[in-house]
Amino acid sequence: MTAEPILALREVTMTFPVRRGWLSRPAVLRAVAGVTLDVRPGEVLGIVGESGCGKTTLGRCIVGVHPPTSGRILLRPRDGGPLRDITRRDRALQAELARDIRMIFQDPFGSLNPRLTVFDIVAEPLRVHGEGGDRAALEDRVAAMLEKVGLRPDAMRRYPHAFSGGQRQRIGIARALILGPRIVVADEAVSALDVSVRAQILNLLQDLREEMGLTILFIGHDLGVVRAFCDRVAVMYCGELVEVAPAEELFRAPAHPYTEVLLSAVPEPDPRLRGQKRRIVLQGEVPDPLARPSGCVFHPRCPAAFDRCRNEAPELTSRGDGRAAACWRHEVVRSAA
Amino acid sequence: MTEGNHLASTRRAVLAGAMAMAAAPLMPRPVAAREVPSLAADVAAGRLPPLAERLPEEPLVVQPVERIGRYGGTWRAGLRGGGDTIGLIRMLGYEPLVAWDREWRNVVPHLATAWEVSDEARVYTFRLRRGVRWSDGKPFTAEDIAFVVNDLFAHPDWPGGAPTWLRSGGAGPRAEVVDAHTLRLVFRAPHGLLLQHLATGRGTELTMYQRAHCAQFHPATNPNVEQLVREGNHRNWVALFQARCGQVFTAQRWQPTIPTLNAWIPETPYTGATQVLNFRRNPFYWKVDPEGNQLPYLDRVSFRISDSVEDLTLRAMAGEIDMQDRHIATLANRAVFHDNRERGGYRFFEVVPDLYNAVALMLNQTHRDPVMRSVLGNREVRRALSHAINRREIIDAVFVGQGRPWGLGSRPESPLYQPGVGEAHTVFDRALANRLLDEAGLRNRDRQGFRLLPDGRRFSIEVMIIPAVRPEWGDAAEMIQRDWRQVGVELRIATIDRTLMEERRNRNEFDALIWEGSAGLGEALQPDHFLPSSWWSAFGIAWFRWVQSPTHPDAMEPPAHVKRQLALYDEMLRSADPAVQAERMKEIIRIASDQLYAIGIVLPPNGYGIVRNTFRNVPASMPGSWSWPHPGPVQTSQFFLA
C-alpha cells in the first residue's frame, strides 16, 4: 500500500482575489488551503466534498489550469526517477505534462467545442503534440480510440451536438486518453449523467484504467459512486483535507465528524432505512470562504466540537493504517491507540 | 455753398457724382414735419426732444422709390446663424460718408455733403452734414472720423492697421480736423478710388464709432483703461475696445449701448445666443422724406436667426419674411417661390449680380512647372480650351436655360460695358479647338486619347472647386470635363476645402480653379480678374507677387500686356476723374478678355429677392454686390408697410 507516489501535493494552497462589488476592497478567497496528498500509481483516488469545498480547484491545479499560490506539486517521471517539481509550468512544460496528466470534464456539453467534429476534437491532442502523422494515420488512431470508449468510428464525422450526454462524455474520455496518459483527473465526470448512463461511463473508466494502467483522481460529490469506484477517498471541507482513507474503511467507520455527517445525509435507496438511519443534522451553513473560522474550520457546525477545536486547527495526521484525519478527536483516538 | 454742391472754391477739384443725385440738391429745407407717432408719447413725456431738435439743420432728403410712406410696422427678415454681420451692414448699417446712387452710377453726398479732391488724388477734404446726431443725441463731428483714422487705424496695437481699401502707398491716411464739420484725409500716395471705396459696405467703418463713447476704452483718452481690461478679463485694450465699441464685421457692434447713426437701434445685443434680433427706430435719425417726415417709416426690424436655409425659405413662402434675397433666393428655389406667391403674398424684385460670369475658370499662367506654364501660358491653348466648351448645353442643364454664353467682360448694365468683349472666344467650335491645340504642339496623344505635353506627360489639368459655395460649379465642371475630353484634354475635378484652396492658390501650387467672375458692375473696386491685383488673381499669382515685391522668390516678371495693364491702373489711381478712370478700366478689361485670364461660361442671369406685397418702396430692380451693398444704397429707411 505504501508504494512510491506518482504524484505528490505538498501544502498546495490556491487563493483568488475576490472583488465583491464596488464597495469592499478585494478579499482573498482560499479555495484550497494547504493540501498535502500522495497519489499512488494505479489507484483511483476519490476527492469528495460539498460544492465550494475546493475539490475542483485542486484538480485544476494539478492539471495546470492555474499554478497554485503556494506549495508544490511533484510528479514522478515516466522512467521512475525522483519526483519532479511541476508546480510552475511554462507552456513547453505544460505541453509536455499534458501527455501525462489529463482531464475529463464535468459538463459533457461545455467541454466539447461545438464547431469541431469529433475527429477534430479527439485528434487535437495528437496534433498539438505532433503525433499521429498524416490524416489517414490520425483517423486510424482516432477510430481505434473511439471504439475503445464504445463509440462507432463513423462518429468522428459528426458534431458534438449530435450526441447524447453519455456519448459526449465518451468523446471527452477519448480525448483525454488518446495520448496514453498516466494520470487522469476526472472532475465530476459522471455527475451530469443519468443513472443508467452513469453506470456505463463508470464501467468504461474502470475497464480503461485496468487496460491502460491509469491513475485516476476522481473528483465527485456522490458518495455512492465514490464508494463503488474509488480505492481511496479524500474528504475536503472548506479547502482543507479533513480525512483520507481507503474507501472501504472510510465508509465503514468514518474518522472525521464531517465525513460522518456526509455519510449520514446520503439518501439510501431503501425505504426500510427510513427512520432507522441516524441523521446528523448540521448546524448552520457552510462558512463564508472569505471569513474562515478560527481553529478547526468545521468546529462551528461540528456536533462533537470541544474547546480545543475552537482555538487550534488540527493537522491531517496519519493513524498508521493508511488512514488520516484532521480532527482533535481523531488525535485522541490515535494517541489512545 | 448749398447742400449737395462741392466745395466751390477750388475748381480744380474733381466733381464727384453728387450732381447726379436727382432730387437732393433742389429740395428746399422741409418744414412742418409731423412727429413720428410711435415717439409722440416719449416726446410728450419729455423723455425725448421734439422732432425739430432731433433732426439736423440739413437733413438728408431721401426720395422714396414709389411714394411717401406711412409710419409703423416691422420689417421681418432672416439671418443665417453665425455672425451674419454682413447682412446687417447691408440692410441696416449702410451709412457711409458718401454713398452710391440707386443706379450705381455715381457717388452722392450722404454724411458728407460735399468734398474736394486735390491733384494726384492725395488729399480729400469732406464737408460733413451739419447737425447730424448719434442715436444718443450727441452731435456727429469730424472728430468722430478723425478718432477712427488716427487713434484706431494708425495705432500700432490695432490689428491689421488701416483697412486695405483705405490705404495707398502701403499706409493709411492721416486725418485732419479742419473744423467740426470739415475733415481732411491726407494720403501718402494717390488714392483715386477712395470715393468709390467709401461708398461700399466697408466705407461704413469710418462712421461707426462715436468718439465720445469709444474714447472710454482707448488708452490715449482714458488712462484707466488697463483697469477696465482687467475687470473685463480681456487680453488687451483692443479686445476691450472691440467688445464695447465693436468692430466693423463683428456681431458685437450691434449692441444697444453703442451709439449709432443707423436708422434702427438693436434692442438686445447680437450674440451667439440670439434667436431673434430686434431693432427699434433711431429717434435721432438724420434723414427725411421730401415732405419732411423723419425716416425710417418702419418702427421696428425683426430678424429671425436661423441655421437652416430651408427654414428661412419656408418662412418666406409662408409670408413670414417681408423683404429678403440673402440666403434664400437661390436659382433652385425660384420655382417654389413662384408657386407660393399667392400663399405668401409676396412679389419678386430683381437683383442684378455684380458678376461678369457665374463660372470663371482660371488657368494658372504662372504655374511652377515650366512645361505646364508654357502650355497654360499660351493664349492659343486657352482659346482652344474656351472654344471646346459647349456653353449652351451647360446653360441649359445647370442654369435652367437662363443667361447667355459669356467670357470675360463687363455686364451690359455696367457703364464700362463694351460690346463684343464679353462674347469673345465663346463660340463652341470643337474643330477650331482641336486645330489650335494641335498647332500649340499638343498633337501627341496617349492610348486613352489624351493629348500629351511636350515632355510626354498627359495634358491634364486639375481644377479646384468648392461646390459648397456654388453648387453650380461642380455641375459645370463635370460638363466642362466631358467637353475637354472630346478634344483630348483631361480635367480632374478636385473638390476642396476653401482654406486649403486659398493656401494652395497662394503658394502657387495649382493648375486651375473655378470661382465666380467678379466683378461685372463695380469693376474698378474689385479688379482681381482683370489684372494681377490680389490673391484672387489666380491666373497669375506669381505676377501678383512681382507687383507686391519684385524680389520675392516666388515672383515672376509679367509679360508686356500685364505691365501695360499695371500702368493703366496706376494712371487710374492718380486721377480721381471718373471719366478717365472708366477709360483706363475699359482697356484693362479688354486686355484681360483678349488674354482669357478667365474662361467664362455664362453671363449670370439676374437674381431675385422676394418682397411682401404690402412692403413698399422696394425698387423692382437693384444691383447686388458688396461694393454696392444691396439693399443699403436703396435707402432702407424709406421702406414702409402699406
Binding site: 512544460l93 467545442n113 458534431y159 | -
Partner: protein, 379 residues
C-alpha cells in the same frame, strides 16, 4: 446543471440534424425567420446591384440631358394603345414628355405624354463603357432603344441626370462604405476586444476605459472634427476611404464590446480550458476554439452595424462633410435633394432616400435574424 428541460431532446443519430455542422444549424435556424430571410435576398440583390451598377443602370450616372432638368418619373407600360387607331400592341415603353415652359418661374414643366411613347429595349446598344473599369461592354440591361430618348423611370435631377441610374450607382459607394467600414471595425473590434477578453486584467481595464471615453463622446461632433481634418487635396476616392475609416473608428467599440464579452465567457468554457491545458499556443487557442464561437454572433452584430454606417454617411453628407460630388452615393444624392424646392416640386429626388430606407431596413432585419439564429437568447 441547468433547469429541467421543458422541451424534449430531439437530436439523435437518426436525426438529419445530427451530421449538420454548426454553420448548417445556424442557417436552419436563420431560415425560420421569414422576414430576415427575405431581407437577406434583398440585401444580396442590393449588393448585386452595387457590383453590376454600370450594367444595370440605364445611363451613366453623370450623363446630363440638359433639356430634361427636373423631369418627373415616366410611367412604364408593356402595352401601348395607339391613340389614332386605338390599336393596342405589345410594346414596352415609357411615356414621353410634353414640355411646358414657364418663363417667369424660370422653369420647364414636363408632363408625361402617353401619345409619345419611348420604346424600351432589353440590352440596348450604348456607348462603350467598362464594367469595373475593366470589362469593355456595349450593352446595358435595359434602356431606351434610342439612347437619345428621355428615359427617366425615377425622374431626372437638376442637371437632367437619371435619378434611377444615379441611385443604382450610389448603391455601390453607400453599401461599400458600410461594408468596408464594418470590415475595419471588425478588424479593430476583434483584435482589441479579443485581446481584452482573452488577456483580461490591465489590458481589459484600459480598453474598457478607452471605449467608455469614446462612447461618451457624441459622435457627430467627433466626425465633424475629424472629417474637417481630412486633407482636401486628396481625391474623392481617398476621401471616401478616409470617411470609411472614420466611421469605423467609432464602430469598433460596439463590436469590441461584444467580442470581449464573448471571449470573457468563452475563456471559462471547459473546451477552451481543455485546449489551454493541452499547452496550446494562446493564438491557436483563440483562433481555433474561440474565434469560431463568436463568428456567427459577430457577423450578426456587424450586419447591424452596416446600416448605422450608411446612415452616418448620409448624415455627414447632409452636413456637407461626407462624400462630395462627383462621387455618387445615396448621401450625396440626398444632400443634393435636401431643399424645399425638391420636397415641393421634385419629390422623386428623394427616391435615393427610399433606397436608404430599404437597405437599412433589410440589413436591420437581416442582422436581427442572424443574431437570433446565432444566439437565440442573447441581446
Amino acid at each position: 446543471m441547468s433547469a429541467a428541460p421543458l422541451a424534449p431532446p430531439v437530436s439523435s443519430m437518426a436525426d438529419p440534424l445530427a451530421t449538420a455542422s454548426g454553420w448548417r444549424l445556424f442557417w436552419l435556424r436563420f431560415r425560420r425567420h421569414r422576414v430576415a430571410f427575405v431581407s437577406l435576398w434583398i440585401v444580396v440583390a442590393l449588393y448585386g446591384v452595387a457590383a453590376f451598377a454600370e450594367f444595370l443602370a440605364p445611363h451613366p450616372p453623370d450623363r446630363t440631358m440638359g433639356r430634361y432638368t427636373y423631369a418627373p418619373p415616366q410611367p412604364f407600360g408593356l402595352f401601348w394603345t395607339d391613340p389614332t387607331t386605338g390599336e393596342t400592341a405589345f410594346r414596352p415603353h415609357v411615356d414621353g414628355y410634353r414640355v411646358e415652359i414657364d418663363p417667369v418661374a424660370l422653369r420647364r414643366s414636363f408632363v408625361p405624354d402617353a401619345t409619345r411613347p419611348v420604346d424600351v429595349c432589353l440590352f440596348p446598344r450604348v456607348e462603350p463603357y467598362r464594367l469595373w473599369g475593366v470589362v469593355p461592354l456595349e450593352h446595358r440591361l435595359f434602356g431606351p432603344c434610342d439612347p437619345n430618348d428621355p428615359f427617366f423611370l425615377f425622374g431626372a435631377d437638376r442637371l437632367g441626370r437619371d435619378v434611377l441610374s444615379r441611385t443604382i450607382h450610389g448603391t455601390r459607394i453607400s453599401l461599400s462604405v458600410g461594408l468596408i467600414g464594418v470590415a475595419l471595425s471588425l478588424l479593430l473590434g476583434i483584435a482589441i476586444g479579443g485581446a481584452a477578453g482573452y488577456v483580461g486584467g490591465a489590458l481589459d481595464a484600459a480598453v474598457q476605459r478607452v471605449s467608455e471615453v469614446l462612447r461618451s463622446l457624441p459622435t457627430i461632433p467627433l466626425w465633424l472634427g475629424l472629417a474637417a481634418a481630412l486633407p482636401r487635396e486628396w481625391d474623392p476616392l481617398t476621401i471616401y476611404f478616409a470617411i470609411t475609416v472614420l466611421l469605423s473608428l467609432i464602430g469598433w467599440i460596439e463590436l469590441a464590446r461584444v467580442v470581449r464579452g464573448r471571449f470573457l465567457a468563452l475563456r471559462g468554457e471547459d473546451f477552451v480550458l481543455a485546449a489551454r491545458i493541452e499547452g496550446m499556443h494562446p493564438v491557436r487557442v483563440v483562433m481555433r476554439h474561440m474565434v469560431p464561437q463568436v463568428t456567427s454572433h459577430v457577423i450578426a452584430t456587424a450586419t447591424l452595424a452596416i446600416p448605422a454606417m450608411i446612415l452616418a454617411e448620409t448624415a455627414l453628407s447632409f452636413l456637407g462633410l461626407g462624400l462630395q460630388p462627383p462621387l455618387v452615393s445615396w448621401g450625396v444624392l440626398l444632400q443634393e435633394a435636401q431643399n424645399i424646392r425638391s420636397v415641393a416640386a421634385a419629390p422623386w429626388l428623394f427616391l435615393p432616400g427610399g433606397a436608404v430606407v430599404l437597405a437599412v431596413l433589410c440589413l436591420n432585419f437581416l442582422g436581427d435574424g442572424l443574431r437570433d439564429a446565432a444566439d437565440p437568447y442573447d441581446v
